[in-house]
Symmetry: C2
Subunit: 570 residues, 2 copies
């Protein structure tokens, strides 16, 4: 491994990355820095043909149909998304590895296969899929945001790569993440900072921020992200997308790399981000039906369960009872979030479902359990960074310039606390298990208030107490971390709403739950969050992927029905 | 909790235990200490009526039938097993809590229910079930072998107790275990040492040694044991019984108490011990069909899968391929074990199955992973024992008398090593995950040698490199711990064989794998192990409970067919 200085390694890597981009795809007329919303730029920049615009604006289900019926070839589709991904990258800096040549060779093979056999290779035949930069592909460099790892090439595929390729997918780019994957924003010394395409002064979130920004710009129809506290869901919600945090043991993680290896209490799970719920569903169904437990002993033998998808066990979805978590008694969400929750409530009532309030239980204690990650983090980070002397990232504040700072001037990192003993670590794990059981009992007890004879079918919750905030300010993951601690399945949905300076005026001050709550209140100004999408999170119970996706479809339809004005009959 | 001296607490508790035994059940003509094999004593001691002998000699399936059809009442069955349990206790010291009054009240209610409704309460209606002494029952004292915990009464049921009672079981006694449940023998300061009923100079194993000894004497038809390294399987095999170590997340553990709480890498799983395979099956089927995931969030939602039990996925059981692990390359098993493996092999071949050799992979490294348990054990044990100053058990050698020893004279405990940091602990967990993946791949790769088109269906392995050894000498759990590390389902079967001084003569010395191997070789003398039963272990993959039970039935039948001489036709 490298023993060069980190700045040299970064320079070397950036040059190599630039060489992966076809020269003719370099945009000359990029919008100026001051242009915050760049969502429409790819379609209008002139690099994409009309057909390429059409292909990249198409959802996963129709893409797969058109690929299967040879209306579009895999090469065409791969080319279109590759071009748009490269455009996106120039706007928001979302890519790490770019391997379009490999992808086009693969696409050509798929086209040949379809032509010669008349059959698709698998359920994802020809679909371009992007991957977060900790999912190894044989022969491709992977740094995971560490300068120390520049020059590290993977010697084998991760299990998910094998599964996706066996299903017919075309892998074409990997995407940016924070150093060590340990932040809910996206910045590292190797690739720099990823921006939010709806408003480049805002963060796309993290740790799967590259995926979020890329897919929002339609540079990929489907991405493989991962979640250890927020990392699928925050980038999905901040970029107006769908994203799923599956339970542990559903999607194979074998062969992936991350920091804090051996910490097995709260671990990464891979999950999809897509601009359609169909994309999320196709990913999950394809992966779990490919017997991933054969390659990964930690995967539970559970193929896609169509009964669960039909909501057997949830009254066949006829009259569901949702519970809304308006706030977690730690931090009150900003006005746009509250409006989206109310909007969702009205949509669900209009669709004939029950809606009750969710009473939070010990969310502050649950968030404290997250110290599981810092129990041995310092030793872990120091071990990796010592070879290149790269600074350990301790803030996402863009005013801090790590390249010119004296290390001692940097703010202290919250993860760089002294480690604890195994015995102390066990006490935190024990506390987590107790809280998980209590929450489970709390959920079961809602059977008395739903009127359905069942406990609450799903919780609808904010993902964060704000929409995408300015860079450096995404510090609260309490609304998402509960699903990692308690292993709940959670789906993020966009509501179709964005921050509206008229509807989302600041509210009068309330009695603050905490200093964090006060700081959050003071942060709010609708102008700051211009154009930011607003999403919500649907939380189901452990291993309820099928049911949560099905309930997501119900909520999604209800919201869309409410937004769409009735069309006049012709 | 108690702050009295441990000897006072023990005296108090023993008196209370004695008071739980009906006076008329105290045996006057107990066999002398020198009588080693006491298996036949209960039937011949005169305390049991002829009908009680018949009832207690009956297997679980017929017991349940006779209970359901009111041939025997629950009160009759409970009385019979209670009496036999109390006899067993006087022979081998296997019980901790004895709550026969509670059990008889419960049995009477069940009889009333059946009479008034014509229906059984559940699939275990009227069946007496014993429990290891770390499974709380509301209102009943539970010490878990700690003098410090004398006087501690449980304020609620564990989940498994709720499930079993809802299924109609009658809980009647709890059984002995080692202090802190951390040994593969059964001795603690509160209740003393449990003996092996086949040869009281031998250990019944542990940590569920009380269950093993009790069930071998037919003082209970079915017991709930638990396994963190060997603890269901060693007592099952040393006492000639059936026992299952299910995978994590199948049987609810919520509400149980153990040492090292918060250590969640290698944890206890509850599993049944019975003198029939039908008992094991009925337990598993009843429990997993009672939706235990509703009460315990760590349980996987997987009801009994009849397809898996019919061995769909294993060629419908028609021509299975078993692999025999003859030795683990650490310690060569004693001659009786090798004979039982060969016997099993011949039986399976005669029944038309394939048998190949299993190549062990890094078993020594796997056994080293077990240091996960000692990473914080010292602090844990000291915290509990400090209130009563009871000595921490550091050897099972019966010549060490803790009641009279000066603490500094006691040998050092292998668990009382200094704890490690969370970071170091993570490195061991990481190593365990790597080894687990390697073994999984190794197993998958056997597809090339089975001739069935599938990888090996199950591994047949020793449970230990010896049959039940003399007290203090059961120090090797390498043959069982692999299933806890790798989360394999494992079933113990008796072979019907016992140690035979003519067939099991010592072998010439071999090239030793290790000093442990040499010591094990030198230990062997068939006379020492007189009457000890010989069993084997069938290892299936993660969450394969149904398939492993079904394959167990196949192996069991094959062995029984081989042993039984063909009956002459009339």
């Amino acid at each position: 491994m490298a023993t060069k200085n980190w700045k040299d390694l970064v320079a070397e890597k950036r040059e190599r990355q630039l060489s992966q981009i076809p020269k003719e795809w370099i945009i000359k007329n990029l919008p100026p820095k001051e242009t915050l919303n760049v969502v429409d730029f790819p379609e209008n920049c002139g690099l994409l043909t009309e057909k390429e615009v059409e292909i990249t604006n198409t959802g996963v289900d129709v893409l797969l149909e058109n690929l299967a019926s040879s209306i579009w070839s895999a090469v065409e589709v791969t080319t279109a998304f590759s071009k748009r991904a490269v455009i996106a990258h120039q706007l928001v800096n979302c890519l790490t590895e770019i391997f379009i040549d490999r992808a086009l060779r693969r696409a050509a093979e798929l086209d040949k296969h379809l032509k010669s056999t008349g059959k698709v290779l698998g359920p994802l035949h020809g679909l371009p899929i992007s991957l977060k930069d900790h999912i190894p592909i044989k022969g491709i460099e992977m740094t995971m945001g560490y300068a120390s790892w520049v020059g590290r090439y993977s010697d084998k595929n991760s299990a998910i790569v094998d599964v996706l390729e066996a299903c017919g997918a075309v892998l074409f780019v990997r995407t940016n993440l924070p150093q060590a994957i340990m932040w809910a924003e996206t910045f590292n010394h190797v690739f720099g900072r990823t921006l939010n395409p709806f408003n480049r002064s805002l963060t796309p979130g993290g740790s799967s921020g590259g995926e979020g920004a890329l897919i929002a710009l339609k540079g990929s129809p489907l991405g493989v992200a991962s979640d250890i506290g927020a990392s699928v869901r925050i980038p999905a919600v901040f970029n107006g997308l769908y994203g799923l945090r599956p339970s542990y043991g559903r999607v194979p993680y074998a062969g992936c790399i991350n920091a804090l290896e051996g910490q097995e209490a709260i671990t990464f799970v891979l999950g999809p981000i897509s601009d359609s719920l169909e994309g999320v569903k196709r990913f999950m169904k394809s992966v779990v039906n490919h017997n991933p437990w054969i390659m990964d002993p930690k995967v539970i033998k559970k193929p896609w369960n169509e009964d669960e998808y039909r909501l057997v066990g949830h009254g066949a979805g006829q009259r569901l009872c949702f519970a809304i978590l308006w706030h977690d008694e730690i931090v009150l969400p900003h006005p746009p979030i509250m409006r989206a929750l109310e909007h969702t409530k009205q949509a669900l009532l209009a669709a004939g479902h029950h809606v009750v309030d969710w009473k939070p239980l010990k969310h502050l204690e649950i968030s404290n359990v997250y110290k599981i990650l810092s129990a041995g983090a310092k030793e872990d980070f120091l071990k990796v960074t010592s070879s290149s002397l790269e600074p350990i990232i301790s803030t996402m504040d863009p005013s801090v310039d790590y390249e010119t700072s004296v290390p001692s001037d940097l703010p202290p990192s919250r993860m760089m606390v002294d480690g604890v003993s195994a015995y102390e670590f066990w006490q935190t794990q024990k506390q987590r298990s107790i809280l998980r059981q209590e929450y489970w009992d709390h959920w079961n007890a809602t059977v008395s208030m739903t009127g359905t004879g069942r406990p609450v079918d799903a919780i609808i919750s904010p993902c964060a107490p704000y929409v995408a905030p300015p860079h450096g300010l995404n510090r609260n993951i309490n609304y998402t971390v509960i699903c990692n601690s308690h292993d709940y399945t959670a789906l993020v949905l966009p509501t179709g709403l964005t921050v509206d300076p008229i509807l989302d005026v600041p509210k009068p001050s309330h009695k603050f739950f905490s200093t964090m709550d006060r700081a959050n209140y003071e942060l709010y100004d609708p102008a700051k969050f211009k154009d930011a999408p607003i999403g919500i999170q649907i939380i189901g119970r452990t291993l309820e992927e099928e049911a949560v996706i099905a309930m997501g479809e119900i909520v999604d339809s209800a919201i869309k029905a409410k937004i769409k004005p009735p069309t006049a009959s012709l």
